[in-house]
């Protein structure tokens, strides 16, 4: 058994080495398939980051009446925080609101002067609320406006932003869906191309397969070397693709950062390196083995 395995591996390696042109062709096609799948993985990472970034910008603010005490507001905040549909709640006191206002408009002398004219802080304390889903904002604003705290609340600036919020969530879920469909189609194409390349390569060997059968080789003894070749092609293609990506990502990471501020492609690549390597190996070796298996089976019926 062990001797047979050794012979199968040796024979697979020998065929891989001898059929230089064919091996080169299958490795490069397999590299393209792995390259595509790796790109899709990184693209997915970027899309997720972009969507999260976009959704993070969406919130609603509840303004409290001037005479509401900080204690009351924090009570509202505590209750909202317990709601599982709410991602987070941030409290902005009247003083903080004023500071931010001055900071933002420090260039605008007239505005600052008129603020001084008013004499007191005209701004209201508020809570900034972020929900997980856009659809939850309606329920949250109804709860605030009609619920037990309606006495404390001056206004909820939801309805003004309602449309924009809806659009942002709609766009981001569309991007996500398009990404998934795009990935599936490209992934499918990559798999079909790699699969058919292996089949063509083995088609070349159909005569040899029938001779091996006629001199008494078992199916496994015939099939084994082709599967070994599939594994070798998969592993070499994976290693080469990893090399290309490591170098590519290292050099292009800073440029990507210009398009998507805050996203480090190299960091993402490094953080997911082993997941990625696993996906690449599974793609390369899996495709090599499965397509060899299926292609050889057809010619074994001698």
């Amino acid at each position: 058994m062990l001797v047979a395995l050794k012979r199968i591996i040796h024979s697979g390696w020998l065929s891989f080495r001898r059929q230089t042109a064919l091996s080169f062709a299958t490795v490069s096609i397999m590299m393209m398939a792995i390259f595509l799948i790796t790109s899709l993985f990184l693209l997915q990472g970027m899309t997720k980051f972009l969507i999260a970034d976009l959704q993070d910008k969406v919130d609603i603010s509840v303004y409290f009446k001037k005479d509401s005490s900080e204690e009351d507001i924090l009570r509202v905040k505590a209750e909202l925080s317990e709601n599982p549909e709410i991602k987070n709640v941030a409290y902005v006191s009247r003083e903080e609101a004023l500071e931010k206002f001055i900071e933002r408009h420090k260039e605008d002398q007239i505005l600052i002067e008129s603020l001084a004219e008013v004499g007191e802080n005209p701004l209201l304390a508020s809570l900034n609320i972020k929900a997980w889903q856009a659809s939850q904002y309606t329920a949250i604003s109804i709860f605030l406006e009609k619920g037990p705290y309606q006495e404390l609340i001056e206004k909820v600036d939801y309805y003004r932003n309602k449309e924009v919020i809806g659009r942002i969530f709609e766009i981001s879920s569309n991007i996500n869906l398009a990404g998934i469909i795009f990935s599936l189609i490209l992934g499918f194409i990559a798999i079909v191309v790699a699969f058919n390349t292996t089949r063509l390569a083995i088609y070349n060997s159909r005569e040899e397969i029938s001779i091996m059968r006629l001199v008494g080789a078992s199916s496994w003894f015939v099939r084994g070397p082709f599967i070994v070749q599939g594994v070798i092609v998969g592993v070499i293609a994976t290693l080469l693709t990893v090399l290309v990506f490591t170098i590519g990502v290292f050099f292009f990471s800073s440029r990507i950062d210009l398009f998507i501020p805050g996203f480090s492609l190299f960091g993402y690549f490094k953080a997911h390196f082993f997941t990625l390597l696993f996906i690449q190996l599974a793609t390369g070796v899996g495709l090599g083995v499965i397509s060899s298996w299926i292609a050889v089976r057809k010619y074994l019926k001698v």
Partner: protein
Amino acid sequence: MIKFQNITKIYNHNTTAVDDVSFEIDGKEFVSIVGRSGAGKTTLLKLLLAEEKPTRGKIFLDNQNVHKIKPEELPRLRRRIGVIFQDYRLLSSKNVYENVAYVLEVIGASDLEISRDVPQVLEIVELADKAQNFSKELSGGERQRVAIARALIPRPEIILADEPTGNLDPYHTREVMNLLSRINEMGTTIILATHNKEVINNLGKRVITLEKGRLVRDDEKGRFIL
């Protein structure tokens, strides 16, 4: 040992290659099947090897119907039979040494046996100096001798030799026939398909004659008569 029972093989378009042929071959026999090209010699050998299925009839090897053998059991049958194919059928991706060694690997021979037997057999067929060559680098006669070496090396119970001298010069033809006779004397059953008159007449063994797929003559110590 081998029994052909009312064997008919019809290919597509109603081409009848073998027509109701019956005969038996005992163990250790040396039988020649003669006939013109297209008489059905090669078809009979293909049927025995279960490379093809008969349209009608049965073939038994030691009372086992070879066409009822399960696919996974088939290698075991084929390992009992060494075949010298008319078209050589060498493995083009392997060199001469590896082609011959392959059949030993198939039967699970040890590395030691392979490295001992292969050079010996290549010596016998005078191809020791071509061991590292690939089949495309060999002449027709050399390829035929590789095919012969490959059929002999696992010491099979039966050898099917389909025109084994078709591409050989008179010297090598004589050598190969002497070799087959010696192997037969040591107990191997030999079935030889040929249309070489001289070879048959020198053998002086049983001859089965086919004509247009039909068995027309079966003589002990026969001669080539067509």
